[in-house]
Symmetry: C2
C-alpha cells in the first residue's frame, strides 16, 4: 500500500520576513488559504488507495504540524519528531521503519512539505507510473521537465526506457551554469531533480544498508527507543545524532543501480524565493500580485504583501518585492531576493530575533501577540482554543492583569478556580500559581498586561502541562 | 521692534504617511529632534532684539502648537487660531493687528513654519538688511538665490538696487517651465520666492487696505471680537469667513509699488516632498539616508524611515523612498513622490482615515495609541502628562478596564476618587461618569481595554473639561 511521507523538517528563511525559524515556509499560506504543508497532505490524501500520511518534522514544529493536519481533516499516519536535523536520508529511514511496522509491503511516496503542484492530475498519473516501477523494486525519482534553463536546481539525465513512462537514471548532475543548463533544456533528456521519490520501504532500507549503513543503524536505534508523546513519536536523540547527515540523493539515489526517473510536467515549483512565488502567483494586468491592503499607483511587476491592520502604498515602482509583517518590512529588487540571506545573517550577527519568530507566536493552546511594550510592562493579546489550557505555572518577576474580551475563561489563581466572562478581569500577583483554560466551544480572547522588572518568556515555572512541556 | 510671525496653518499631505491632516509637516521632526515649527520659532527667537513670536494656526492644531512651543522654552507672542483656512494675506493681517496692539511701531518678520534654513548666520544678515528697508516703508520679501532651475517655485526679478543688500522688485513670475527656469538661473537677477517677508505692521495694513480692503475689514472684525481660550486667541469665525482667501503675494506684494527683495543664500528648503527631504538630509557613502532601525544591503540613493518597534530591510534597491509608520507604509520611486497626492486622494475617496490621523493621537492631556482591536474590544496605550487631566466623561456603549503601568493615576469613577498605583487596575462600568488625572511629576501610562458594542471616539459625553472641549 502507498504511504505518503511528508518531509517537513526545513527551517529556511529564504522567504523572510514571512518565514521565520519557528514558522518556516511549509507552514505559511503563500498561495491561497492553506499552507504548503496542508496542500501537500491533501494532495497525498487524494491519491487512490492511499494510507494516512507520515510526517517527519522538527520537534520545534510539532504543535503546528498537529494543528494544521487537524484543520484540513486529514488523519495522521504518524508525526515523527527529529531531535535535530540530519538531512533527508535518515528522515526517510525513520518514515520507512514507521510504515513497515504496519505494512511490510509498504511503498513510500516521499514529498517535501513546501512544494507547489498546480496540475494534480498530471502528478497523479506520474505517481501511478512510478508505482508500477516501485513494485519491480526500482527507486523512482520524479523529474520535472524543465521549462527554462534554471541554474538553481540539480538535473537528472535519463537513460533507457523502463516501460511507457519511466527511464533508468543515467546520471545525476550538479547545479549547472547557464550555458550548460541551456544545453540540458535543448537536449530533452534532462529533468529537474524535484526531491520527490517513490519506492518500497524495504527496498530503500536495503539500498541504504548497502551504501550508507551508518544511517540505517542510527535510524533503527533511534526509532526502536522512540517515546510516544501525545500524537507524536519522538525518536531517541542520542541514537539519531549518531547518524551521518546526508541527502537521499547522495546516500542512495546516486549510488544504487536501480534508480529510475519518471518525467512529469505538473506545474511544479519549490517556491524557493520571493521571485519564484511572484512567478506562480496570480497577477493583474500590470504584473502585480497583491495580498492584503495595498494601494498601487502606476507600479509594475511587483509582489506586495501587507499585514493585518496595516496598509502598503506603492508609487511608480517596478519589479520589487515588498513584504510587510508586524515587526519587519522587506523591500527588495525582485532579481536580488536571494540576498534575503544577507539580512538574516545580519540579524543573527546582531543577536536579534526577527529571523526566529514572529511577533505573534503560536502555542499548542493557541497564540499570543505582543502588542505593546514599555520599560516595565508588556501587553499581550492571547487566544486560547476551545478545550485548550495553558500550563499551570508561576512567574518570579512579573504580575499579570487579565481582561477577557471574548469567550469564557476558567482561571486558576492560587487555591481559587473561577470563570471570567467577557468584560471581566482578574489579577495574578507575582509568584502566584495560575492557569488559564477554555472549557467552551468558542475561542477565549484576553488582554494580558504584564507588569514587572523582567518580562522575558523564560520567566516561567511550569508545574503541570497537558502538552508535555513541564 | 521686530515681531516674528510664524504661519503654521498648513495641513498638507505631501509627506504622507508621516504627515497627516491632524499632524502636518510643520509639527514633525524631519531633520533632527525638533519639529520644523520648533526650529522656526528658535530661529526667530535667536534674532537680536526680537519679541516673542506670534503663531497663526488652525484651531485643530492649537494644543500641538502650545506644547511644541513650551517644549523648546520659547515665550509666546500669542497663538492666533484661524477658524478656517483663508490663505496668507488674512492670516498676516491678524498677526499685524496682534502686534500693533502692543507695539504701534511693530515690524513683522513673516516665516512659514515648515521651512528649513541651514545657514542661520546668512539668514540673520538678510533680516538685518531687510529691517533697514522695512524702516523706510518697504515691503520686503526674501529671495533665495536659485541653485538649480527648479520649476516648482515662483521667481522674483529684481530691479534697481536699494542700498547695499536690497532691490526693488521688478516683477513676480509664475512657476516657469524648465527652459525658462534655466534662463532665470543663468541671468543672475532672479530669485526663488521663499514666502518669507519683513515689513512694518502698519504699512502692511495700509497696503492691504489699498489693494484688498475686504481682507482688512474681515480681519479687523474677526480680531476685535476674538475670544481668549486658555493661551489661545480664537478670532470670530463668521467675520473671518467673510474674508477673501488670497495669498500675500497676490493681495499685496504683486500690487504695491513699494515691494523690495533681499536676495539670500542660506541653505533654504521648503521640504516640499520626500525627495526634497532626501536632498537636504545627511547621507551615507551610498547616498542613503536612514532613520530608525534599517538594514540596507547594496542599496543606493534612498530615503528609508522605520517606525517605532519595527525594522525595514532593503536589498538592491535604488532611488526609493520608503516611509514606514504604525498603520501605513509608502514605497515610492524618488522621482515620483509628488504622486503621494494620488494615494491620499484614494484614501479620501474610500472614506478612510490614514490621511487624517496617525494611530497614535495627541491630545492636550497627552496621547493615546490604539494598539489592538477586535470585534467587541479595543486596547489603547494612554499617556497622561504631569498635571494633566482628561475630561470628566461617560460612554453610552462601552465599559473600560484601566491598568496603570507607570506613575500614579487619580481616578474618578462615579462618586469615588482614588489613586491607582503602578500595577493596579480598575473598572469603569458602562455609563459611569469618570475622569483620569495625573497629579504627579512623571507621566502616567496606562493600558485601557475597552469592551462594548461600539467603540468609536464619538461615544463620549464630556461633562467638564479643563481644555474647553466640553
Amino acid at each position: 500500500m502507498l504511504h505518503p511521507v511528508v518531509l517537513s523538517g526545513g527551517s529556511g528563511t529564504r522567504l523572510w520576513p514571512l518565514s521565520r525559524q519557528n514558522q518556516p515556509k511549509q507552514f505559511l499560506a503563500l498561495v491561497g488559504d492553506r499552507s504548503l504543508y496542508q496542500e501537500t497532505v491533501l494532495r497525498a490524501n487524494a491519491l487512490p488507495g492511499v494510507q494516512p500520511p507520515i510526517t517527519v518534522c522538527s520537534d520545534d514544529h510539532r504543535f503546528m504540524v498537529g494543528e494544521q493536519l487537524q484543520a484540513v481533516g486529514v488523519a495522521s499516519g504518524g508525526i515523527l519528531l527529529e531531535p535535530m536535523a540530519r538531512n533527508t536520508a535518515p528522515a526517510i529511514a525513520l518514515a520507512a521503519l514507521q510504515a513497515l511496522r504496519l505494512d511490510p509491503e509498504a511503498t513510500l511516496l516521499v514529498m517535501p512539505a513546501d512544494h507547489l503542484i498546480e496540475d494534480e492530475g498530471a502528478f497523479r498519473a506520474a505517481v501511478g507510473a512510478a508505482m508500477a516501477l516501485g513494485e519491480e523494486g526500482w527507486l523512482v525519482t520524479f523529474g520535472i521537465r524543465p521549462e527554462y534553463p534554471e541554474t538553481g536546481y540539480g538535473y537528472i539525465l535519463r537513460g533507457d526506457a523502463l516501460g511507457e513512462a519511466g527511464f533508468r537514471i543515467e546520471r545525476f548532475v550538479e547545479k549547472p551554469d547557464l550555458a550548460t543548463a541551456e544545453t540540458y533544456v535543448a537536449d530533452g533528456r534532462y529533468a529537474w531533480n524535484s526531491g520527490m521519490f517513490l519506492f518500497r520501504a524495504q527496498r530503500y532500507l536495503e539500498e541504504l544498508q548497502l551504501h550508507a549503513p551508518g544511517i540505517v543503524e542510527a535510524a533503527r536505534k533511534a526509532y526502536e527507543v522512540a517515546s510516544a508523546d501525545l500524537d507524536f513519536t519522538r525518536v531517541d536523540a542520542d541514537a539519531f545524532s549518531a547518524s551521518p547527515s546526508e541527502s537521499i540523493d547522495y546516500a542512495v539515489m546516486e549510488k544504487t543501480d536501480r534508480a529510475a526517473v519518471v518525467p512529469v510536467t505538473c506545474g511544479w515549483s519549490d517556491i524557493g524565493s520571493w521571485s519564484s512565488l511572484w512567478s506562480v502567483a496570480e497577477r493583474d494586468a500590470d504584473g502585480n500580485h497583491h495580498e492584503g491592503d495595498v494601494i498601487s499607483i502606476d507600479s509594475r511587476g511587483s509582489l506586495v504583501r501587507a499585514s493585518e491592520r496595516r496598509m502598503v502604498a506603492t508609487i511608480g515602482v517596478e519589479d520589487l518585492v515588498i513584504i510587510d509583517t508586524a515587526d519587519a518590512t522587506l523591500v527588495a529588487r525582485k532579481d536580488r531576493v536571494q540576498d534575503v540571506k544577507a539580512v538574516v545573517d545580519a540579524l543573527k550577527a546582531a543577536g536579534r530575533t526577527e529571523h526566529l519568530f514572529h511577533r505573534k507566536v503560536y502555542r499548542p493552546w493557541g497564540s499570543y501577540d505582543s502588542i505593546g511594550v514599555g520599560e516595565r510592562f508588556q501587553v499581550k493579546r492571547i487566544v486560547v482554543k476551545p478545550g485548550a489550557a495553558l500550563s499551570l505555572q508561576k512567574h518570579q518577576k512579573r504580575a499579570e492583569h487579565w481582561v477577557v474580551v471574548a469567550g469564557v475563561a476558567e482561571v486558576t489563581c492560587g487555591d481559587r478556580v473561577f470563570d471570567l466572562q467577557e468584560n471581566e478581569s482578574t489579577y495574578i500577583p507575582l509568584g502566584s500559581v495560575h492557569r488559564l483554560r477554555n472549557r467552551g466551544t468558542e475561542p477565549v480572547e484576553l488582554i494580558e498586561v504584564q507588569s514587572g522588572s523582567y518580562l522575558g518568556e523564560d520567566d516561567i515555572v511550569r508545574l503541570e502541562d497537558v502538552y508535555g512541556r513541564s
